[in-house]
């Protein structure tokens, strides 16, 4: 069995904390962009020049790549690979596991040494973990019955 959360709730405070960590990461590592996503391919947070639209597509594809890589790991007798790295002529992407459900994708050019990217990626993963744990375990702000009913009533207007 491969259990999953039913929903993930991100608060304003969570994002502020992550944004702060990400800004510092971009300075320390010289990376261009950093994207936090979950294994189902949803964008959770991003920092850098990447547009939100691109970050959404990168998240879906990065999660797909990571998932495919893990099937490869299983075939080779590994439980999972914890990172994957793609090198281009000018741009590279480093995708690593932060916790069992969350991934970090770092986009960087050749000015940033891969060693620094890895080192800082590991470091920021450690710093982000408490925020992610808080997201997963923190008091869930359940939507009220009124809110739910309102959503249903208004969906028809969206189509």
């Amino acid at each position: 069995m491969e259990g999953q959360l039913s929903s993930l709730v991100i608060t304003k405070e969570d994002i502020e904390t992550i944004d702060e960590l990400f800004s510092q990461y971009l300075v320390d590592s010289q990376a261009k962009d950093i994207i936090l996503l979950n294994k189902s391919g949803e964008l959770l947070a991003k920092s850098g020049a990447v547009t939100r639209e691109s970050a959404i597509a990168v998240s879906a594809l990065a999660a797909g790549v990571f998932s495919a890589t893990n099937e490869l790991a299983k075939l080779l007798g590994e439980r999972e690979f914890t990172l994957t790295f793609h090198q281009g002529k000018e741009t590279n992407i480093h995708i690593s596991l932060v916790d069992p459900l969350i991934l970090l994708a770092v986009i960087f050019d050749n000015k940033a040494p891969i060693g620094a990217i890895r080192f800082w990626a590991k470091k920021i993963s450690g710093s982000i973990k408490p925020v992610l744990e808080k997201m997963a375990a923190g008091p869930r702000q359940e939507p009220s019955q009124d809110f739910r009913k309102g959503l249903q009533d208004e969906i028809d207007n969206l189509f």
């Binding site: 069995m1 929903s7 991100i10 608060t11 639209e53 797909g64 249903q152 969906i155």
Partner: protein, 189 residues
């Protein structure tokens, strides 16, 4: 897994179009992409082979609009239907909030429908997602050698379930299916 982001007042749901190879899953997404207004749709990402069959998945993010102050976003995915890509199908289904099962009405695809549906339920069971909302689109109703609706309902055990008759290539029931699954996923939050 729905994603509720209070910092941006957004709720994102993951909807997967599942079904056997060539049943019209990508055609559904392409129709949605062509139909919805420019400002609400994101980048349509498709990883296809040179024969234009989905290799990995198609992905289309859609912003439906604002309800009760929250932007409702859908991440629409398709899976590759071919037998070979069983593991990819499973991985795309991870943390799904709702499924549109696209069945092929052609008689010669009968076994493929049954097999693919069983494969989907097995994957949902593995992920412990037995209550995932599912709606069914019986597609390709315009082709000559089709099965009757009754036969398909019996084969796939769809009695009492949400079933739509579709011709995705000309948009028949495409938006209705999207609306139907949106209602269902929203009711689960």
């Amino acid at each position: 897994m729905s994603l509720i982001d209070f910092s941006k007042s957004e709720i994102t749901f993951k909807v997967v179009y599942y079904g056997p190879a060539m049943s019209g899953k990508t055609t559904n997404l392409s129709w949605i992409f062509r139909t919805i207004p420019e400002k609400v749709k994101g980048q349509f990402t498709s990883i296809a082979t040179e024969t234009e069959r989905t290799l990995f998945f198609d992905f289309l993010p859609v912003e439906l609009g604002t309800v009760k102050g929250f932007k409702i976003r859908l991440s629409l995915y398709t899976v590759p239907g071919q037998e070979l890509y069983k593991l990819t199908r499973k991985s795309v289904l991870k943390s799904v909030d709702g499924i549109v099962f696209v069945a092929d009405s052609n008689r010669d695809r009968r076994e493929d429908n049954i097999k693919n549906l069983a494969d989907m339920f097995k994957n949902l069971e593995d992920y412990e997602l037995p209550d995932t909302p599912i709606i069914y689109q019986l597609n390709k109703r315009d082709t000559p050698a089709i099965m009757s609706v009754g036969e398909l309902v019996d084969d796939l055990q769809l009695k009492g379930k949400a079933v739509y008759l579709g011709i995705a290539s000309s948009g028949v029931s495409v938006m209705e299916c999207l609306k139907g699954i949106t209602h269902q996923v929203v009711s689960k939050i």
